[in-house]
């Protein structure tokens, strides 16, 4: 693990389901052997479609879902092996911003209390200073502090996301995991929040793990990008390399599928992917993408390709690149 790596995830597996009385076990391989690391002060984006396991990965980093296998290290703490009180303490270093601005704030609590709660629970600062800290957090995320006595339903979606950010910042975390933080917002508000997140990163030296399905947003915000498909990373590279030189057929298809906000000139005819991603319950053998892959060969259906370095740290898993 290099000096400035903040988050390191190795061979993470999260499987759901299992034993039930009188019922056959159905195991969902939500995350199936994922490894990545994020350097301090930078942003790793994880993109993928629904069912790719990107959100589960995010939750696993905070230990909000049970981990089946693998290690997660934040700084010098191996968070994946902690339990109970140690885990609770360790969560101070990593916080989360959620997708849905309407369900991520407890509707029965004043927003000031929502932001103050982590300070109380984690015992941060002196009790009498905490009101001031809440005040400062509000200012930091661009909200008027006198609004602290209001309830969440009195705020707009964008403002709620700001409150969510303030809550996440309260424990002074090093890593913030963002699960689609702007996808529920209107585009104009989305820009405000993205800019705020960038500013906070610059001011506080935050590290982000940024989960999104929106490639435009990921390209704008992230330094490194990992592409997930059915619980696995199929390609991972730095921002410029990934977008200008995608290797994996899935990444290529994904990029080609994004509508471009410029007039059609008739030259771009994408190769559309057919069908939907298969379910993470009955996984295909071989490469998981083979069933939809426009260039799959026989081998792809029987042997799973390995995620290998294709030069300059650009990782991709595809037999055709070997």
């Amino acid at each position: 693990m290099s000096e400035n790596t903040l988050l390191e995830v190795q061979d993470l597996k999260v499987h759901f389901g299992g034993k039930k009385l009188f019922r056959k076990a159905q195991i969902v391989h939500a995350v199936d052997g994922v490894s990545f690391s994020v350097p301090k002060g930078q942003t790793l984006g994880i993109v993928g479609e629904s069912g790719s396991g990107k959100t589960t990965t995010a939750l696993a980093v905070l230990r909000l879902v049970p981990i089946t296998a693998g290690t997660i290290r934040i700084g010098d703490v191996e968070i994946s092996s902690l339990e109970k009180e140690d885990l609770r303490e360790a969560r101070r270093k990593v916080q989360m911003v959620f997708q849905d601005p309407y369900s991520s704030l407890d509707p029965r609590r004043r927003v000031g209390d929502i932001v103050r709660e982590p300070l109380d629970l984690m015992n941060i600062g002196e009790e009498e200073d905490r009101d001031q800290m809440v005040h400062d957090l509000f200012v930091q995320v661009g909200l008027r502090p006198e609004l602290a006595s209001l309830f969440p339903h009195q705020f707009s979606g964008g403002q709620r996301q700001r409150i969510g950010l303030a809550r996440a910042l309260a424990t002074k975390p090093e890593l913030i995991v963002c699960d689609e933080p702007v996808s529920a917002l209107d585009v104009a508000v989305q820009a405000q929040i993205l800019n705020l997140m960038r500013k906070l990163q610059e001011d506080l030296g935050l590290t982000y793990l940024f989960i999104s399905h929106d490639l435009g947003v990921v390209q704008h915000l992230c330094d490194h990008v990992a592409v997930m498909y059915l619980g696995q990373i199929v390609e991972q590279a730095d921002r410029i390399s990934l977008f200008s030189n995608p290797q994996h057929p899935y990444t290529k298809a994904l990029l080609a599928a994004v509508p471009k906000a410029r007039p059609r000139d008739g030259t771009e005819k994408r190769v559309p992917l057919t069908g939907d991603p298969p379910s993470p319950i009955n996984l295909p053998t071989g490469c998981r993408f083979a069933g939809r892959c426009p260039v799959a060969i026989e081998k792809c259906h029987s042997i799973a390709p390995a995620l290998k370095d294709r030069g300059n740290g650009h990782l991709a898993s595809c037999h055709l690149l070997d």
């Binding site: 479609e49 490639l215 977008f243 994904l254 994004v258 509508p259 471009k260 906000a261 007039p263 992917l273």
Partner: protein, 330 residues
């Protein structure tokens, strides 16, 4: 080409506890046969209400069309009888919706839901209607259509369901298809499939499409012309090309600029996104001036005094803004 649908000065009011909300404010639109018209805007701008007004499905109460006309080949749909509107809906104008997961009735087979539509509008036997349903499913690219026709909605994926919705909407060969955010709820690769499908079907059948979306990308993919809506007004309209490359209204410019668009060859240089300050105003509290004035960086005193009318800047491009020239200059 002649307009098959023309909306004139349409006004829709909603009674709310906070007062009267003018959801649509003197909307005028023309749809030519065989074209794809995009309507773009943020949530609450009135784009979906425009669609529901055309379909005669404005929820009433609390909503009401208080002024204007919607004429379909010269016939005013606002004045049309309920019986006539039932013929129009699904027969002449049909519609698909944003949420394919909830837009199909969960307790009926998808084939029956399509066949029902055919039976409502054509004098045809049940067996023939079912055959048509299967044929439509084939047309929208559903594999094994005979088997899938017997499936229930929950047995299909989101993309499949949206295809079923399209099959149902086109089953009676309508002249106009209204697509309300048809791909918003879908994954990006599935979204691309639906775009291609709509494009192909449009070319094949010549059905005119009204495409409602918040996504300039979707507009660029499909639309020939675009109308941009803000707070119940159309503030700009024109050819897709012109709107995308040469937007005139400050709001349109902001809407395009605030989205981080995917670039094929990104550089290290990443400026902050440009923002539209503030939030969309509440429709019950609109002043007499331009609805966008409170957020507009170019506003002048007159903007807050009197609402600008939409005026042509050239043959195909119209804008509702007093400061068009100034905006263009900047």
């Amino acid at each position: 080409m002649a307009a098959i649908l023309s909306i004139k000065d349409l006004v829709v009011d909603f009674k709310t506890r906070a007062g009267n909300a003018r959801v649509l404010n003197e909307i005028s639109l023309e749809l030519e046969s065989g074209e794809i018209l995009g309507i773009v805007g943020e949530s609450g701008c009135g784009k979906s209400m425009t669609a529901l007004s055309i379909m005669g499905l404005v929820p009433s109460p609390p909503g009401k069309i208080t002024n204007g006309s919607i004429s379909l080949d010269g016939e005013d749909l606002v004045q049309a009888s309920t019986a006539r509107m039932r013929q129009v809906r699904g027969g002449i104008i049909s519609m698909i919706f944003q949420e394919p997961m909830t837009s199909l009735n969960p307790v009926f087979r998808v084939g029956d839901q399509i066949a029902e539509c055919v039976l409502l509008h054509e004098d045809i036997s049940k067996a023939d209607a079912w055959a048509r349903a299967v044929e439509m499913l084939t047309k929208v690219g559903i594999p094994e259509p005979e088997i899938r026709a017997r499936a229930y909605p929950h047995e299909l994926s989101g993309g499949m369901r949206q295809r079923v919705m399209i099959a149902m909407a086109l089953s009676c060969r309508p002249r106009i298809l209204i697509a309300d955010e048809p791909t918003t709820a879908l994954d990006v690769t599935v979204q691309a499939q639906i775009f291609d499908l709509l494009n192909d079907l449009q070319r094949e059948t010549g059905t005119a499409i009204i495409m409602i979306t918040h996504d300039m990308g979707a507009i660029a993919e499909l639309a020939d012309r675009v109308a941009v809506m803000y707070a119940g007004h159309i503030i700009e309209s024109g050819k897709t090309e012109d709107i995308l490359t040469n937007p005139q209204h400050p709001y349109t410019r902001g809407l395009i600029a605030c989205v981080p668009h995917l670039e094929e060859n990104p550089t290290e240089d990443r400026p902050y996104l440009s923002e539209i300050k503030g939030v969309v105003p509440s429709l019950t509290e609109l002043g007499k001036g331009c609805a966008f004035a409170p957020r507009c960086p170019y506003k002048t005193p007159i903007c807050e005094e009197e609402r600008p009318h939409i005026e042509a800047v050239d043959k195909t491009h119209s804008v509702a803004c007093y400061n068009v020239k100034y905006v263009v200059a900047v």
